[in-house]
Every structure is written in structure tokens, then in C-alpha cells.
Amino acid sequence: MLKIENLHVEVEGKPILRGLNLELPQGEVHAIMGPNGSGKSTLAHVIAGKPGYTVTQGSVTFDGKDLLALEPEQRAGEGVFLAFQYPLEIPGVNNVYMLKAALNGIRKYRGLPEMDAVQFLSLVKAKTQVVGLKESLLNRPVNQGFSGGEKKRNEVFQMSVLEPRLAVLDETDSGLDIDALRIVAEGVNQLRAPERSFLVVTHYQRLLDYIVPDVVHVLAHGRIIKSGPRELALELEERGYDWLTKAAVA
């Protein structure tokens, strides 16, 4: 499904990713772990198409399609979703209204008819229950005045409505207390499905207690230096990243 080959990415002339390889099959959950500054967020942003990153080498394909050639909204149309580490506030824009524009943008891209307000609202109602988002937040401006936990839950809520085939979670655990973390993780788990893949980017292993990955990759110095089963995350927690990164440099 998602295939990244020899990816080199620079930001303002500074190399961040240096020959990253990754393969994420359909229906699997892969975790990307790594020390600060290893390029985890860069990877998430490059998959979603954030401006400001220069790909100097390599490829990112999604079901054989060249993702890098697409605009961010086209990638969303293909089924890519990025849950932001820091969700943006959009003053004056109603949360549900934005989501309707998003869903219809995606449907238009796929050649589907737009969803009318009635259909859309019943869908929204069903999905708020999935992630336990307060209904009062639906008609507030996007993320404005939301607590940290509410913002992250709103990301998962958006994901549940847009039903992506590839969901990239960028440090979704950051800034969350343990209760909020559990609720957000439960929301994600409910969205796990055979046709949906997840790339979970995180610094700490605790998120993986709740969202249990099929594979754990360790990202350091802009490359995947080790991949392994879920237990690898536990080992990292115990031993830190140093033993691995040193071995990789040596």
C-alpha cells in the first residue's frame, strides 16, 4: 500500500531524511519511533504534502501512485489523512462546516456526488459517538478554545468521518494526560480495519500500550535503522535509543 524508497528530504538546504525505506501493507499498524530530531515529523509531513520540504531523491507511492506529484488535497482524495501534532485553530469557521467541505472535496475528487446536509449530519452524529466528542464542540470554530485533549479527539473525529485508507498519526500522544491518551487511542482502535493502514509516529512507547502496532521501526539520522515486532518498543523504553543509534553510526 504505502511504499517509501530511498527518500531524501531537505529543509532549507539541510538534509533531514537520508535514504529512508519503508513499506506499510494494507490493514497493518506500524509505529515510527525515534529520538528527537530524527526526522519523524518530517516523514509525516512529507507523506501529507506539507509545503517547505524538498525531496531530493527517492519516491513515495501509495497503491502504486506517485504521492509526491500530488497536492495535499489530492492526497486526501486518495485516502491519506494526517492527524496533526498541533491541530490548527481556524477562527470563525464552524467545525462541522469545515468537515463537510472536506468530505465533499474528497467525494468530488473521487467522482462521487456531494453529500447533502441531512445525510452529512446523521453521519456526524454517528461518528461523534465513536470518538466521544462532545456535541457542543461540533458547532464551534475549528479547534478554537479546545483543550489539548479535545483538539486531539477532534483529529480522530475528523479521521472517522473522512475514513482514510492511510492514517498518519503525528505524535498524537504529545501533551495528553493518561486519561485523554486512553480515550484517543480507543477512538483510533475502533477505526482499525482490514482496509485501513496506520502509521503511528511517537516518541514514547506508552501510546503503543494502547494502539498495539504490528511492526515498530526505529528512525534515526534520517533512516530506518531497525524494524521489529511490538517488543522492540518495550526494549527501547528500557534501554533508550543510544545503543541502536551508536550501532547504526558504527
Binding site: A48, E73, F81, L82, Y97, A102
Partner: protein
């Protein structure tokens, strides 16, 4: 003008059947302004002596005044002797002969707004042989208004037919010597609209300048007077969403509103004069004086404006709140894109007891546009219990534009409450990426943010006007980001 295009189209279709050819060549006064010009104008219109004297007095005052320079706008000095003060209808050979001679960008905009071709020609000032006869439309709505006792006619007609009303109210809100441009207008105003709503009457329809066909080409010095007698209500729509071209670069209009006891006037404007090309060449200078007088108890005047056009806008629709418990409102969206300069805002003058006012101003600056909000809230000593709430927000797009806020507050009564909130925000790349990553195109993302920003004002507009205004704003901002 594009308000409910299909209706317009069907009307034009009708008119074409009954259309007739007319010769629009008429006298043309050479450039220059003197007492003789004023006399000529007045004679040309067959005005009574009192009207001429009123104009002459204004001219005399104007000669002693100086053009104001305090506004945050820059433009080359205007030579008032180089302007022709009697130029309408314009000579057809001076106009573009076909749409091919008109700025293609303008035509593109017309097409996006879905304006029919014949109407495009009218708006673009193309010389057309066929003048659309509007008699049928005109009569239908005139009958309806007459049945309600509402007077809605051109200003010239009002001077002839209703001199007692005009004499009583003309200049009673904006005196001849109020300011430089108002004085100029008072001396040489070409034509405009007159509205009178009788006591305890709710005007049966929204009055729109569009339906007053003889308002077309009223020229650069338009004069509007609306009087709402006790207990009456009227909603008046001015302007149109289609960019209008005019070879008269200077526009100095005056609008006077009078609301008597328990009367309400809602005045909505969508102003979209030609802003000039990307370098600002050829754009209209719009120096307007608009003021409403809440003369009666419990009266209310509400200004709503969406300003997207003109190269330079100098405009402060104001309310003088004399009557006890009277209410003044000002809702404004002003856009300055490319080289546009807007200095706009309002004045709320509280004189009566328990008077209330609300100001919501939304300024959008894009390209190299400069947008200034200038507002005055004055609470007189007599205005016991007066209240004002002001909200003034600016949105910046790009890094070459500017937003400026000049609030003035004068409070002379300690029981008054005055609130002022202001904010400045910028559409960030990150916000746009966030929306795009959800599947929303760049253009739609910008529109979403801008409409969210303007929502408070749009909801004050009559429904179809609001839809048009949104569309207009998105067209005016195309390519402004990314």
C-alpha cells in the same frame, strides 16, 4: 446588479421585445467648475429657484474649504477644473465600442458572476444603440409602492414632485458645508434617489437602486435622501456585485437618512466600483458621505456594507443618535487587494438618553492593499445610559499589505458604557495546509477562512445579497494567496 440573475435575465428578455432605439447624444459641458457651472446644471434640470440657491450656497462654502488630507490614502492631486460636471449621458464615441475594448479581467469577472452579455455591456459602459426600456418592470413595482403610499423616485423627480419634503429634509443630516466632498456634491450633484415611507408603513419590498432604471449613469455626484416617518420600516439596497466601470474617476456621493419616532432604516451596500488594474490604474476614487439621523425616539438605523471595489475608498457611514433609546448599527466588510486603499469606518454620535450602538468592522488586506478602520464613538453629556460595542478585526493575506486601526472615543457622560475589541490575524500557510490536508482545495480553504471571518457581517445582509457578497469576495480574492 447580479442579484438573482435569472430574474434579471427574464426581465431583460421581456424588455428586449419592447425595446426601442434612442439617441443618447446630448450636450456636454466642457471641464471646469464655477458659479456658472452650477447655474447651468440647475437650469438644465429645470430646478426651482430654492434648489439653485441651495446649490450656490454650497458652492460658495466649497470654495472656502480645503481637500482633507488626514485619511490614510495616497493619490495624485485632483484637478477639479479638469472635470466635466455635466457629462451624462456620455457620448457614445468616447466609450468602448464593444466588449473587446474592455479590460479582459473585468469580462472574466462578469462571466464568473454569471452576468448576461447585454448587461455586461451596460456595466462596462459600452456604447449600445438599444437602450433597454424598463417601463414594464418599473410600473409593476411602482404601483405596489404607490398603494402603500411609499415614494421612491429619482432625486430630480422628487425636487419637482415633492418639493416640500425635499426642502424639509435635504441637508438636514449632512449640511452643505459638512466636509469638502459633501459641499462639492451639494453644489453639483447630478441625480440620485429619494425615498419617503409614510407613517406606520412597512415598505412592501426591499428597495433597490437596480429597479430604479433611471438611476443608471447618474454620474459621479449622486445624492440620496431617505425619510422614514414615524413607525415605518424600510430596507434599502444600494449597488451591485458586478464591477461597474465609469470614466468618471472621482465619485463623491452623499446619502442622508432620517428616521423619526419608532422608525427603522436598514441600508445595505455592496460596492464594487472598478478598482483599477493590478497596478491600480484607472480605478475609481470613492469619497462618500453617508449619515443617518435617528431623530425620533426608539428609532433605528443600520448600515451594512461590503466594500470590495474602488481604487480609493473614503467612507464613514454614521449615525447621529438623537432620539431617546435610538439604536445605530454599522456592519462592514472592506477588502483592499492589489493596490487598493480603503479608509473606512463609522461615527456613532450619542446624544439622546439610553442610545445604543454596535460597530462590527472586518477589514481584509491582500496583495499590496492598505486597509484602515477609522471610527469615532462620541457620547455627549446628555447621553445618559448610552452604550457602545465596537469590534474591529483585520485579516492579512500575504506580507505586502497593511491594516491600520484608528479608533476615537470621546465620553462626556460617566454613566456610559463603551467597549472596544480589536484583533489582527493573518491567514497562515499552516492553516491552509491543515485545511488542504483534509481535502479542501487551496482556493476553497482561503474562502472558508475569509467567509468565517466575515460571517458576522454577512448575516446582516438580505439573503440573496449575502450569497452574492460571498461570491464576490471569493472572486475579488482569487490568486491572493498561494
Amino acid at each position: 446588479m447580479a442579484t438573482s440573475t435569472s430574474d434579471v435575465q427574464s426581465l431583460i428578455g421581456q424588455k428586449y421585445d419592447a425595446g426601442f432605439v434612442t439617441d443618447i447624444e446630448q450636450e456636454h459641458l466642457p471641464p471646469g467648475l464655477s458659479e456658472d457651472t452650477v447655474r447651468f446644471l440647475s437650469a438644465k434640470k429645470g430646478e426651482p429657484q430654492w434648489m439653485l440657491e441651495w446649490r450656490l450656497k454650497a458652492f460658495e462654502r466649497w470654495q472656502q474649504m480645503r481637500e482633507p488630507t488626514w485619511a490614510h490614502v495616497h493619490y495624485p492631486k485632483i484637478d477639479y477644473q479638469a472635470i466635466s460636471y455635466y457629462a451624462a449621458p456620455k457620448s457614445s464615441k468616447d466609450r468602448p465600442q464593444s466588449l473587446d475594448e474592455v479590460d479582459p479581467k473585468l469580462i472574466e469577472t462578469y462571466n464568473k458572476l454569471g452576468i448576461p452579455l447585454e448587461e455586461q455591456k451596460m456595466l462596462a459602459g459600452v456604447a449600445v444603440d438599444v437602450v433597454f426600456d424598463s417601463v414594464s418592470v418599473h410600473t409593476t413595482f411602482k404601483e405596489k409602492l404607490a398603494a402603500a403610499g411609499v415614494i421612491f423616485c429619482s432625486f430630480s423627480e422628487a425636487v419637482r414632485e415633492h418639493p416640500e419634503l425635499v426642502r424639509r429634509y435635504l441637508g438636514s443630516v449632512v449640511p452643505q458645508s459638512d466636509n469638502y466632498f459633501a459641499a462639492l456634491n451639494s453644489a453639483v450633484f447630478s441625480d440620485g434617489s429619494f425615498v419617503y415611507i409614510p407613517k406606520n408603513t412597512r415598505c412592501p419590498m426591499e428597495l433597490s437602486t437596480y429597479f430604479r432604471m433611471n438611476a443608471m449613469n447618474t454620474g459621479q455626484f449622486e445624492r440620496t435622501l431617505i425619510v422614514a416617518d414615524s413607525g415605518s420600516y424600510v430596507s434599502y439596497l444600494e449597488g451591485c456585485t458586478a464591477p461597474q466601470r465609469d470614466e468618471n474617476q472621482l465619485h463623491a456621493a452623499v446619502v442622508e437618512l432620517v428616521a423619526l419616532d419608532d422608525a427603522e432604516i436598514k441600508y445595505s451596500t455592496v460596492q464594487n466600483w472598478y478598482p483599477g488594474d493590478e497596478e491600480g490604474r484607472g480605478g475609481i476614487y470613492n469619497f462618500v458621505t453617508k449619515r443617518g439621523d435617528c431623530r425620533g425616539r426608539n428609532s433605528k438605523i443600520s448600515w451594512t456594507q461590503v466594500e470590495t471595489g474602488s481604487a480609493i475608498t473614503w467612507k464613514y457611514p454614521s449615525c447621529v443618535l438623537k432620539g431617546e433609546n435610538s439604536v445605530g448599527e454599522f456592519y462592514s466588510v472592506a477588502l483592499a487587494n492589489n493596490r487598493q486603499q480603503a479608509d473606512t469606518g463609522t461615527k456613532m454620535i450619542h446624544i439622546g438618553r439610553n442610545t445604543r450602538s454596535t460597530i462590527v468592522s472586518k477589514g481584509i488586506s491582500a496583495g499590496r492593499g492598505q486597509n484602515a478602520y477609522r471610527g469615532l464613538v462620541r457620547i455627549a453629556r446628555s447621553a445618559e445610559g448610552a452604550r457602545n460595542y465596537t469590534q474591529c478585526d483585520s485579516l492579512l493575506m500575504g506580507d505586502q499589505c497593511g491594516a491600520h486601526t484608528f479608533p476615537y472615543v470621546e465620553v462626556k457622560n460617566s454613566s456610559a458604557k463603551v467597549e472596544h475589541e480589536a484583533s489582527t490575524s493573518k491567514i497562515s500557510e499552516d492553516q491552509l495546509f491543515y485545511l488542504r490536508s483534509r481535502g479542501i482545495s487551496n482556493e476553497d480553504a482561503v474562502n472558508l477562512i475569509v467567509n468565517g471571518f466575515c460571517k458576522q457581517v454577512f448575516k446582516e445582509l438580505p439573503m440573496e445579497f449575502a450569497v452574492e457578497a460571498q461570491k464576490l469576495l471569493s472572486i475579488s480574492l482569487e490568486g491572493a494567496v498561494g
